[in-house]
């Protein structure tokens, strides 16, 4: 597949992997939850508890991991732009990407997700 620039290629694959993995997790958790309880989970888990819950095969953990995955994919895409900009010695791109990533991380911490 041809892309306009290396930056476009890198960001495209980050979004593709992030979205696909998140959708798989949400679908798996939803099907599991419907099969065991007859309904979808009513609450998400805090980020600190998600990994343990996923490893235990709990539906709520799988759905929470998928939802978090969707929300974190843009952050990973921003980080990807920083890496590609740095490799091309693009100072403006690096600074802008770091600035955006910092605000997103603050959002993550303030939200206590």
């Amino acid at each position: 597949m041809r892309f306009a620039t290396p930056l476009h290629r890198f960001v495209y694959y980050v979004l593709l992997v992030g979205l696909s993995a998140s959708v798989v997790l949400i679908l798996a958790g939803s099907v599991w939850s419907l099969a065991t309880t007859g309904a979808l989970p009513e609450r998400t888990l805090p980020a600190t508890q998600v990994l343990r819950s996923v490893l235990a095969g709990e539906a709520q953990g799988l759905v929470s991991a998928g939802l978090l995955g969707i929300l974190l994919t843009p952050l990973v895409a921003v980080a990807a732009t920083v890496v590609v900009s740095a490799s091309r010695r693009d100072g403006v791109g690096v600074l802008a990407g770091i600035g955006v990533a910092l605000v997103m991380v603050v959002g993550l911490l303030l939200g206590g997700a």
Partner: protein, 268 residues
């Protein structure tokens, strides 16, 4: 049965949003509050998850075609995300009546903004900063352009960030016209860049909502999935439906939504 209702709302919002070039949030929030009786903060938190999902899916298509100006998006996002984060925190504390009122005002603005289709393309104009190019698949022609008035773009994007975070709408209807008519970005590049930005902006706010426990999987999953499916259908229907008639219908729907939301803001 309620999950099917949420799914149906998501599909309808996705189809209409895609046909009109909007995020589904402008329909999801009033749908959840007016049809299903949910609190507006829960509706906004649900909507932002759907908006991020649709932005990611749309960006995949646009980035592959080379339409998205990623560097411009990053520069504008430096101020947009600050607006989104600030208003996301404010939204946790502000009264629901204020949100209903603000939503009614935004719906009225959208009725006004949709009077005419987007115009004012500035193609093949490489003046300005951040030069970029893409090949238009409709004509096979390479379009080169530069970006002008970056400061105005940053200011407008901040406002869009505040609104998207407070109300769960994408903000594309504010950003795309300014990118086209003020910043000299061609319409395809503006739409693609705005779509990519919306995912970043809305995810920033969504993290705050997720941490606050407002993202409810039994709501967010069917609505987001429905909106995603609807957007795929809408993008295929787009070429067969008369956009002028659709715009008029949507303006009428927005008028009903504005009245209903305004009614609630006044506590009537």
């Amino acid at each position: 049965m309620t999950s099917l209702g949420y799914l149906g709302l998501g599909v309808a919002a996705g189809i209409l949003g895609s046909l009109l070039g909007l995020g589904g949030g402008i329909l999801i929030v009033p749908g959840l509050t007016l049809l299903f009786g949910l609190p507006i903060k829960t509706a906004v938190a649900t909507s932002v998850v759907a908006v991020v999902t649709n932005s990611l899916a749309g960006s995949l298509v646009y980035i592959r075609r080379g339409f998205t100006h990623i560097k411009l998006a990053m520069i504008l996002e430096t101020t947009t995300t600050i607006g989104a984060l600030g208003s996301g925190l404010i939204a946790m504390w502000v009264s629901g009546r204020w949100l209903y009122g603000l939503f009614a005002l935004v719906a009225v603005y959208m009725i006004y903004a949709m009077r005419q289709p987007p115009a004012g393309e500035a193609e093949d104009d490489p003046d300005g900063v951040l030069p970029a190019a893409f090949t238009d698949p409709a004509t096979g022609r390479e379009i080169r352009y530069g970006v002008r008035h970056l400061g105005i773009g940053a200011l407008v994007s901040t406002v869009a960030g505040v609104l998207s975070s407070l109300l769960g709408v994408g903000g594309g209807i504010i950003k795309v016209p300014v990118m086209c008519q003020v910043m000299g970005v061609p319409i395809k590049a503006a739409t693609a860049t705005s779509t990519f930005m919306i995912g970043i902006t809305t995810a920033t706010a969504a993290m705050v909502y997720y941490g606050g426990g407002l993202v409810i999987p039994s709501l967010a999953v069917p609505v987001a999935f429905g909106a995603f499916l609807g957007a795929q259908v809408g993008s295929r229907l787009g070429t067969r439906i008369r956009s002028k008639a659709l715009r008029r219908l949507f303006q009428l729907l927005l008028l009903v939504i504005a009245v209903q939301m305004g009614w609630r803001a006044l506590g009537l």
